[in-house]
Amino acid sequence: MTANILWWICIALETTLLVRGIFSALVKKYRLFYGYITCILAVEVIRLIFYLSVPDHYASVYWYSELATIIASYAVLIQILQQSLRPYPGLLRPLTRLLWIIFAITVSYACCDLFANRGVSLSRVAADLGRDLRFVQGALLLTMLWLFGRHRLSLGRNLGGITIGSAIWIGANVINVAFLYLQMREFSTFLTELLPVTYSITLTVWCISLWSAAPAAASRLATGPEEHLAMMTMKTRTTVAGTSDRLLEVLRQR
C-alpha cells in the first residue's frame, strides 16, 4: 500500500517537474535532463500498466526498463558537466574527453558481457549490466563532485539542485545495488524498501531547485588571469615546496 502511494507520488512529482520546466522555459536550457525525466515518467507509466494488468511479466519489464533508465541517466551527467564547466574552458575539455573515454570503455565492457552470457536469461544479463553501468556512473559522479568541491565551482540554484539530487539518487542506488548481490537478505530488503523514499526525496530536491529559472552564479573574473596563471602556478609550487623545506630546517639541529 505504502509502496503504491510512493509510486503515485513519484509520478506526480515527475509530472510537476516537467510542467514547471515548460512554464519556466528551463526545458530549453536543460534539454538532456528533461529528456531523462520524460523517459523516467514513460517508464513509470509502462511499469504501472504492467503491474496492474500483466503482473507475471512485471519482473522482466522492470529489469529492461531499469537498464534503459540507467543508460538515460548518463545524459544527466553530461548535462551537469556541460553546464557547470561552460565558463571554465580549461576544465571542460579534459573532463569531457575523460567522460567519453570512460563511457566508451563501459559500453565495450557491456558488449563483451552480453557475448559472454549468452546462455543466461536476458533479464539477468540486463540486471548485471545495469549494476555495472551504475557503478561506473557512480565513479564518474564522484569525480565530478570532487572536482566541483576542489575548484569551488559556483553552480547556481538550478544546476546545483540537479547535481545534489543526482548525488542522493545515484549514491543510494550504488549502495543498494551492492547489497542486493550479497547474502545479507534482511539488510538489502530494508535498503530496497528505502529506495523509493530516496527517489521521492531526489524528485523533491529537483522540484524545489527547478521551480523557476535562477540566474547562473556570477563569477567575478580576476583581471587578466591568463597571463598570470603560468607565473602563479610556478609561484605556488615554489612557495609550497619552500615552506616545507623551511619548516624542516627550523627543527633541524646543526
Binding site: L141, N173, T233, M234, R237, R252
Partner: protein
C-alpha cells in the same frame, strides 16, 4: 562479489552522498562569499611569506641553548613553564603555516579554473607538493605535541639524517649496478 569489492562499492556510494552534502553546504556558503582575484592570491602569498620569515626567530626560540640555560639555572617549575610556552609557540607557528598554505592553495585553485590553457602536469606537481607539505607539517605537529619542541628537533634531525644516509646508499648501489651491467644486456650500449 567479494567482501573487498563490496566494501569499495559501499564506500563509493557513501562518498557520493558525503560530497553531495558538501556541495550543498558549499552552495550556501558561496551565496555569501565573494570570488577570488589575483590580488587576493598575492595578498595570501605575502601573508605566508611573513609567516615563513619568522623561521629565523623560531629557530632561536627552539634552540637548545635557552633550554640548557633554564635547565642549569632555573627551578623545575620554571623549566616546565618554559617548555610549555615554547611548545605552544611552535605549535602555533606550524598551524599558522598550514592555514596560510591551505588559503594560498584554495585561491590558486579558484583562479586556475578560469584558464583556457590548462597545465595538468604542473597542477599535479603543485598538488603533490601541497600534499607533501600537509603530511610533513602534520607529522611535525604530532611530534612537537607528543615529545615537545626540543626533543622534536632531535627526532626530525635524526629522521632527516637517516633519510639522507639511505638515499646516499641507494645512489651508490645504483651506480654499482649500472657499472657492473654486462655489455651483452639489451640497452646497455
Amino acid at each position: 562479489m567479494t567482501f573487498v569489492a563490496l566494501l569499495s562499492i559501499v564506500l563509493l556510494g557513501t562518498l557520493i552522498l558525503v560530497l553531495g552534502t558538501r556541495l550543498a553546504a558549499q552552495m550556501i556558503e558561496t551565496g555569501r562569499a565573494k570570488s577570488a582575484t589575483i590580488e587576493d592570491y598575492l595578498r595570501a602569498e605575502r601573508v605566508l611569506d611573513s609567516v615563513v620569515m619568522e623561521a629565523e626567530t623560531m629557530k632561536r626560540i627552539l634552540s637548545h641553548d635557552d633550554a640548557r640555560f633554564i635547565a642549569e639555572q632555573g627551578t623545575c617549575e620554571a623549566q616546565k613553564l618554559f617548555e610549555s610556552e615554547r611548545k605552544r609557540l611552535a605549535l602555533r607557528w606550524v598551524r599558522r603555516m598550514q592555514k596560510q598554505v591551505s588559503e594560498l592553495m584554495k585561491l590558486h585553485l579558484m583562479l586556475a579554473r578560469y584558464t583556457s590553457k590548462p597545465m595538468p602536469k604542473l597542477e599535479l606537481d603543485v598538488s603533490a607538493k601541497c600534499l607533501t607539505f600537509k603530511l610533513i607539517s602534520t607529522v611535525v605537529l604530532a611530534i612537537i605535541w607528543l615529545v615537545g619542541p626540543f626533543r622534536a628537533a632531535s627526532v626530525v634531525t635524526y629522521t632527516l639524517n637517516s633519510a639522507a644516509y639511505f638515499c646516499g646508499i641507494f645512489r651508490l648501489r645504483h651506480v654499482d649496478v649500472q657499472g657492473s651491467r654486462p655489455a651483452s644486456e639489451p640497452g646497455s650500449r
